[in-house]
């Protein structure tokens, strides 16, 4: 091979190598173009509203409708407001009580139905799931009748054991939020049950058989077999429970509207009160931003401690 041939070969080789490499790079770059629709969608429907809410939270309005720059005034007002702290307390109670209670009762129901029923399985599954698909308006009216101390169903039951309810659970400052939490648990436990039923049915039968042979039953079976194998369901329910807590609105709005005297206020009703009833869009936006920050913080904690794999891993649930 001459020197000229060698150069030709080298040039030819470089050309041969570079052309597909450039094409590959171009193709890789072109792949990013496919993200544009998703990014545009995110920008329009998520990014822009968030920025708009943040911007709006920096303004306030007079009772005569004139808008003025308030800077961080809405946030300062919020932090000084006892109602805001009451709302925060209520949201914490809501999440801390409803999520674990729904999971425990839902899990127990699922286990009982799957283990101890045969022909009536479908009936029980449906019956416990009915509240989930029932209109929240109907639920609110029914539970108002249950709680009514004068003629309510609860009072009728208490009368049988000689007790008289002389105050309204929904109308009392100390009990309103707990009365609502009970209704929420009743409404959504069927959903947890359904998730656990799906989880239980995904566990291979052999594992149960092997556990029984090894003598595991009751608490030991739950602690060392079921709970670890259902961790995906647990994490999903935790995630959905937190989202549900932050989105709580219709039940509270219909049953107490945040009262009495803000005792059952939740973020949804608090935002609605200022944004829609009072027309204070700036203050309502400031509350929304706080909720956003809170949601972001909770999401971060979930990702940090629970990871994200359970959301997409197959076979867990």
């Amino acid at each position: 091979m001459t020197e000229e041939d060698s150069v030709l070969v080298q040039v030819g080789t470089r050309d041969a190598m570079d052309l597909p490499l450039n094409r590959s790079r171009w193709r890789r770059s072109a792949l990013y173009l496919y993200e544009i629709p998703a990014l545009a969608f995110f920008g329009i429907f998520v990014g822009y509203p968030i920025l708009w809410v943040i911007y709006t939270s920096l303004f306030a309005a007079t009772v005569h409708g004139a808008t003025y720059w308030a800077g961080l005034g809405n946030y300062a007002e919020l932090l000084q407001s006892p109602t805001f702290w009451m709302t925060l307390r209520n949201m914490a109670l809501w999440g801390l009580i409803t999520i674990p209670v729904q999971m425990i009762i839902g899990g127990l129901l699922a286990y009982a139905i799957e283990q101890y029923t045969i022909r009536s399985k479908a009936v029980f599954r449906t019956v416990y799931f009915v509240p989930v698909v029932t209109s929240v308006v109907v639920i609110a009216i029914v539970w108002e009748q249950i709680y009514a101390p004068y003629y309510g169903i609860l009072q009728a039951g208490l009368t049988e054991i000689g007790l008289h309810l002389n105050f309204s659970l929904l109308g009392s400052y100390d009990t309103a939020i707990f009365a609502l939490i009970i209704v929420n648990i009743w409404e959504w436990t069927g959903f947890s049950m359904l998730m656990y039923i799906a989880g239980l049915n995904a566990i291979p039968r052999e594992i149960f058989d092997a556990s029984h042979i090894d003598g595991a039953s009751g608490w030991r079976l739950s602690r060392y077999v079921l709970i670890p194998l259902l961790s995906g369901v647990n994490k999903s329910l935790l995630l959905l429970g937190i989202i549900g807590t932050l989105q709580t609105f219709p039940l509270v709005f219909l049953m107490t509207n945040g009262g009495p005297d803000n005792a059952s206020q939740v973020f949804g009703t608090y935002i609605f009160l200022h944004g829609f009833t009072e027309g204070q869009t700036g203050l309502a936006s400031a509350i929304s931003v706080v909720v956003l920050i809170l949601a972001a913080g909770l999401t971060f904690l979930q990702i940090r401690y629970l990871g994200t794999q359970f959301l997409s891993r197959k076979g867990d649930a």
Partner: protein
């Protein structure tokens, strides 16, 4: 191409041609409809009654089509308005309450003064009941005398009692607070709900308080919310103390704090399980509901209104309190549509209003109207008594939303025993001061 593909293709072609033909056919017939002017209306006003009003209007305006969207007041109507205002897509006419709601949407509303003067003459305002006139302007910035909403219907708030229960228990209509407590105890001891109060929904609390406050110091409630008097004035504190006594003396039902006036209270009242209830002139409409209706509300034969009893033995009962039940505003979009004003005018002073009154929906806002449909002598008597009261009624509405919210929280706090009357009203005073920038 196989046979199946040909059949599919032929079928698709035929369908397309048929669709085209149908489309062309409809398009050919359409011009008559397209020429009609459309008026869009959003409100929480009863759909059935509005339908009758629209029917009457369209009969005399054949080239106009009115499209009515009914919403529940809260949250549907409030959220729909907010979203539409933000996107500049408000309908031509929107239902409004005086004060708070009108002020929130004032930037989107057209002033109605010149249109009203053109339609009804320069003295058009004299045709409207005085309390409604004042409420139309409530909350306007100082110096702004524009009218942004017109009253469609008025109301007088009062107490109602079940005449049959009272007769059965040999009870007299209470004229004093002592008699009220006596009657309440008698009702309770016979298994009836004495006076049903839906404390969980704030409007009934406001109404009862206003009746009490206007008995103690007429007009002071209105002055306080305008910042012209202190909420901590002795008269208003005393009214709040009386409010609290309605709970402690057993006038209101046990558990009133968690109850709602509608639908629960109203149903119990109509079914004859409640002795008394704070409602208003609109209660008459129950008599016109489609059957089946409870026997007591047929012709209103089981009910009669009375004023809040005198707080002292020789005192006077509460004066009438009331004003605009529901009103309407013309949006800036609607101001560009002449038919929209025509329909709005008919709703407040025309065939539309007459249709509403015939359904006994409530009282008129313009003087000179009365139901022309057949009603019982009992209803007719009550109706005209309410009209008489409306002429000198005190204002029942709030001008400013933050003041109203503070008041609702305060009155709820007193009812729940969490706040003292003075402590509660101090909170309202602080909210009023902040809202008005004093």
């Amino acid at each position: 191409m196989n046979v199946a593909a040909k059949v599919l293709l032929t079928g698709a072609g035929s369908l397309a041609l048929t669709s085209l033909a149908v489309g062309v056919s409809f398009a050919h017939q359409a011009p008559a409809t397209h020429k009609k002017t459309v008026v869009t209306v959003w409100s929480w006003f009863i759909a059935g009654t509005m339908k009758q009003a629209i029917k009457q209007f369209e009969r005399t305006h054949p080239n106009v089509v009115v499209k009515y969207s009914y919403y529940n007041y809260s949250p549907q109507f409030l959220t729909a308005l907010k979203a539409a205002a933000a996107s500049n897509s408000l309908p031509d006419i929107i239902g409004l309450q005086p004060g708070s709601l009108t002020q929130q949407y004032r930037p989107y509303l057209a002033p109605l003064n010149s249109l009203a003067a053109k339609t009804w003459g320069s003295h058009w305002e004299s045709k409207i009941f005085p309390v409604d006139r004042a409420q139309m302007l409530m909350g306007n910035p100082p110096g702004n005398h524009n009218v942004y909403m017109l009253p469609q219907e008025s109301q007088v708030i009062c107490l109602w009692y079940n005449t049959q229960i009272f007769s059965k228990l040999h009870l007299a209509v209470p004229r004093t607070f002592t008699a009220l407590v006596h009657d309440a105890h008698a009702l309770s001891s016979h298994g009836y709900i004495p006076m049903y109060q839906g404390v969980a929904g704030a409007w009934q609390n406001e109404n009862v308080y206003e009746m009490i406050a206007d008995q103690i110091a007429p007009g002071l409630f209105h002055k306080a919310q305008q910042g012209q008097a202190a909420w901590t004035s002795p008269g208003l504190v005393k009214a709040m103390t009386v409010w609290k006594r309605l709970f402690t003396t057993g006038v209101f039902q046990a558990g009133a704090l968690g109850d709602q006036a509608y639908p629960t209270g109203a149903q119990l009242f109509a079914d004859g399980r409640v002795g008394m209830m704070a409602l208003g002139s609109w209660w008459l409409q129950e008599a016109k509901y489609a059957p089946p209706i409870p026997p007591l509300v047929r012709g209103m034969k089981g009910f009669a209104p009375f004023s809040f009893p005198a707080l002292t033995a020789h005192g006077h009962v509460s004066p009438p309190v009331g004003g605009i039940d529901v009103g309407d505003g013309l949006t800036k979009n609607g101001a560009r549509n002449p038919a929209a004003w025509q329909f709005l005018a008919s709703l407040v002073d025309g065939a539309g209003e007459q249709a509403s009154l015939n359904a006994l929906n409530d009282l008129p806002a313009f003087k000179g109207f009365a139901p022309t449909a057949a009603v019982s002598p009992h209803i007719s008597k009550m109706y005209h008594a309410f009209i008489g009261q409306l002429s000198h009624a005190e204002n029942q509405r709030f001008a400013y939303p933050p003041v109203q919210t503070a008041f609702d929280n305060a009155i709820g706090g007193v009812a729940a025993g969490k706040l003292t009357p003075m402590g509660a009203l101090k909170q309202v005073q602080a909210a009023t001061k902040k809202a008005l920038g004093h």
